[in-house]
Each structure stands twice: as C-alpha cells, then as structure tokens.
Symmetry: C2
Subunit: 157 residues, 2 copies
C-alpha cells in the first residue's frame, strides 16, 4: 500500500483486509509472554475454566488485527501512527484454529486545522470468525498525511 | 494473587503493579510479527520518519501492560475475562530501553443482577515512563467472581 493518502480514506467505504489463522502454538506463546492467565496458557485448567477450553488473549486478537490492518489498510507513505482506540470489544472468545477475517470501515475523516499536512481518520474494525460472528471490534484513530502537491497535480494555468 | 475477589476491588483504590523494560530486541520482534510499519521495524527508516527513531507498536505497549496487570492486579481465582476496553490512548511514543511502571485505579465496581456470582469492575490503567509521563492509558472492564460463601464466612446463628 504505497499510494494511499488521507484523501483516499472516504467515510462509508468498507475494506476487506484478508484473513489470518490463530494457531494454538502462537496463542500459547503470546499468552505465556503477555497474558499468563490459566484460560490462555494451561489447556487442562482452561477446560475446567469459564470458557471450557483455551482462548486467545484479547491483546493477541488485537495484535493479529493490527497485522492485517498494517498490511492491507494503512499506507507506508501516509501512516503517522495512532493516538488511540475507542470502544474495543471482545464479544466472543477466540479458540485455537480460528480463522479471522478483518473488515475495516472508514467512519470519519477530518483534516487537521493546526497541521494542514495531515488529517485524522476514524475506522471501525471488525474481526469476524468462520461462523460470521464478530469476535473483536473497535474504533481506531489514525493520523494520515495528505497527498503531497506535485507538478502533475498542480492546478492547470 | 490467589485471594482477591470482586468485593476486594474498591473504587478509588490505587495499585502499583510494578515495572517492565521495553528492550529493542523484543520491540522489533513484536512489530515484525504484528505491526510491521517502518517506524516500528526499520531503525534507519524510522530515524527519518515521523518519530525520529524506532518506537514500540502501541499493541506491544498494551501487551506489556497486560503482563503486569495479569500478574499484579487480576486474581487467578476470580478473573473471568474482559468484555472490552474504552478510551485507549497512546499520548507519547515508547522508545527502546524505556522502563514503564503500571498504575491501576479501580473506578467502578457493579455486581451483576442477572448473574449474582460475579460483578463488573472498571479500572483506569496508566503506564508511566521514567520521566513520569503517561505513555499509555485506558479504561479496562473485567468480570470478577464474588467471594464464595463458606463455612467460616457464613453469618453466625
């Protein structure tokens, strides 16, 4: 994604950002390092726990979302990082072997007044499992550069 | 943390959940896997980028927060997972070598009406760097079991 700028993120447009599988090995590796609760790291204890088996750390699900978001939605030429995320939700557990597909919908695009070389884009992301249930959703903020003025884009005259 | 239940999360109480260092090796490893933007994975490109150097993926910072939150705040006997997080913010970049300290403040605790064996706790988390600047904050929801009734806790009579 090398030619997408602020102006190209148009509210209402929906992007399919592809899918990714959650392997049990990676689920365990992530959780041992960052979220070592029994229902994320110990299959036997998890079977007797609140989810009846292992589930992915919610931060792992968020990180897998980010992978697809960085590769298929953000642009290497215009992404300036994110100030934050609102209304992050994990409505259903993610189990080993799940294949998740990312849908990203532009919900707002506002040019900065103080820094006119950029704008703020708000995107609703939804991570959907094989049964078409949403397992993760959030409203993500991103700062994006506007398209630079260039000779071939200058007004005629 | 093996004896903390819903009743023990009292609004207004602040917990110091310890600190953790963000090594450059781990910063790069995380970002290569989950957030491969130049300013997270390529030191040379990052030096010329919007942050003037490498910074941690925001999801890496969130995951490091979770590590301390799981170890020093949640309880293995009562944690039932999280429905979500609100107002997640990354107000300042996290650079390699940063040492971050986690502060967790209980802001709300509400017993469930439909499932009286549990309650919802809301916690404001703040990850603070060596200069006492907040680099990450969020409002985290958690479901927690209430303390089980037991012989030694039954009312006298």
């Amino acid at each position: 994604m090398t030619d997408r700028y602020f102006e190209d993120y148009v509210p209402g447009v929906i992007y399919d950002c592809g899918s990714i599988e959650v392997s049990e090995a990676e689920l365990l590796e992530f959780a041992r390092r960052y979220d070592p609760q029994d229902f994320h790291v110990d299959a036997a204890a998890a079977a007797d726990g609140p989810f009846g088996g292992l589930i992915a750390s919610g931060w792992h699900t968020a990180s897998l979302m980010m992978r697809l978001y960085a590769e298929h939605y953000l642009s290497t030429v215009s992404s300036l990082g994110s100030p934050g995320v609102d209304e992050l939700r994990w409505p259903r557990p993610v189990r080993p072997g799940a294949v998740l597909r990312l849908r990203a919908t532009v919900t707002e695009a506002r040019r900065s007044r103080s820094k006119p070389d950029r704008g703020l884009v708000r995107t609703r992301v939804e991570f959907v499992d094989g049964g078409d249930d949403v397992v993760f959703s959030a409203s993500v903020l991103n700062l994006m550069r506007v398209r630079p003025a260039g000779p071939d884009r200058a007004p005629a005259g």
